[in-house]
Symmetry: C2
Subunit: 206 residues, 2 copies
DNA sequence: GATTGCACCAAACAATCGTTTGTTCAAAAC
DNA sequence: GTTTTGAACAAACGATTGTTTGGTGCAATC
């Protein structure tokens, strides 16, 4: 027989202290993401990250087997978040150009909100971690497929190169964190609108 | 009297051993630039650089007072080199669109030839070196003035935002090293042509 | 022929890096 | 009530980092 207090016959999958885990791990990833976005992967040391969550350096290795794996998961979560954000922005939008613009704006907003982590990590990562770099690229490739599809749906003049136009837009968007300043002349929506409008005026039919 | 071999009565401003200096310093900067472009600023250690030129780590400090200063000079030289390259590409080209296209192609070629050092260093450099970052940005600002002028000369529709269009083109160009592969479908000239042509078709008048 | 000074070597410096190991301690499971 | 386990601490590990210091050979100068 069991007392009411000890009652955990069922695995208690979401008890009063949230199954005692996952909680802290997510906070850890959030803080680490901020630091890596701000100071770069090499710039943010495990000691910095540990201090930011109020732990000791070694304790991080209970949650993640290595610094590379930490980045792997953070990068994956950020990319997934951006994918979800874009997906949501596309909901209910019908016209091909409207969809591309919505996606571009969502992408840009996601970049800024995450401290441009993806854009920062992307370019400078043939360091010594070539295998890691490859996985990060794979994570991004899935995300970029959405944009491939969006460009496929555009009504364009026959001489337009959809691939190159997509790379042009994507590059322009991903470079914005380099010059963008919060509260400046341009906001994310304006930037996305103008960039997409350029392509539309150049090659759009209809 | 002097033997023919020892002959340096005149200051010998460009003698057989090139004034004994400058020589090696330039080689040092070249090798360092390659390494930094390939592995990033943090990724390329002073020992790596020293080994690449066949010296010992400490010997580098005879030529440069610190690693930051080394990067400062390398970055400056790379930017100057790109400016010169663009300047030369503009020689004799009269039409505004032709000039922009020539500049874009030269910029892209310069990016690839230097291992994209500028594009690599640019985005990820709010690390701990905020003052250094500021100087690098200043070096680039002078260079970018050329593009500002080029855009100012373009015959554009009145609703066009020259600043934003320049940032769009510049971003698209600077992002190419992320996806570009030598021997792939696209070469620098094609990329530059298409990117500029997009803007021209969108907002060009005349 | 003696002296100067450039360009480098040789060897270490303290600091910081990612990581490992052993221990602790409260909460959960039995 | 005992055992197990999740989650962290405490303290160090070897390696690598940028940098400094003192010495040294050799070419150029007087």
């Amino acid at each position: 027989m069991k007392k009411a207090k000890t009652a955990p016959a069922a695995p208690d999958p979401d008890g009063p202290r949230r199954r005692r885990s996952g909680n802290r791990r997510e906070e850890l990833m959030d803080r680490a993401a901020e630091l890596i976005a701000a100071k770069g992967f090499d710039g943010a040391s495990m000691r910095d990250i540990a201090a930011a969550v109020g732990m000791l350096p070694g304790s991080l290795y209970y949650h993640f087997p290595s610094k590379e794996d930490l980045l792997r998961e953070i990068h994956g979560r950020v990319v997934s978040g951006m994918a979800a954000r874009v997906e949501q922005a596309l909901e209910g939008v019908e016209s091909p150009w409207g969809r591309l613009e919505a996606a571009a704006e969502a992408h840009l907003a996601g970049l800024f909100e995450t401290g441009s982590l993806v854009a920062i990590v992307s370019p400078d990562f043939p360091k010594g971690h070539e295998d890691l770099n490859e996985e990060l690229r794979r994570q991004r490739r899935d995300y970029e497929q959405t944009f491939r599809d969006l460009f496929e749906a555009l009504p364009l003049a026959p001489e337009a190169d959809r691939t190159l136009l997509r790379l042009e837009l994507f590059g322009a968007l991903n470079w914005t964190p380099v010059w963008y300043r919060d509260g400046g002349r341009y906001d994310p929506r304006r930037i996305a609108t103008v960039y997409v409008e350029t392509i539309r005026r150049a090659y759009g039919t209809g």
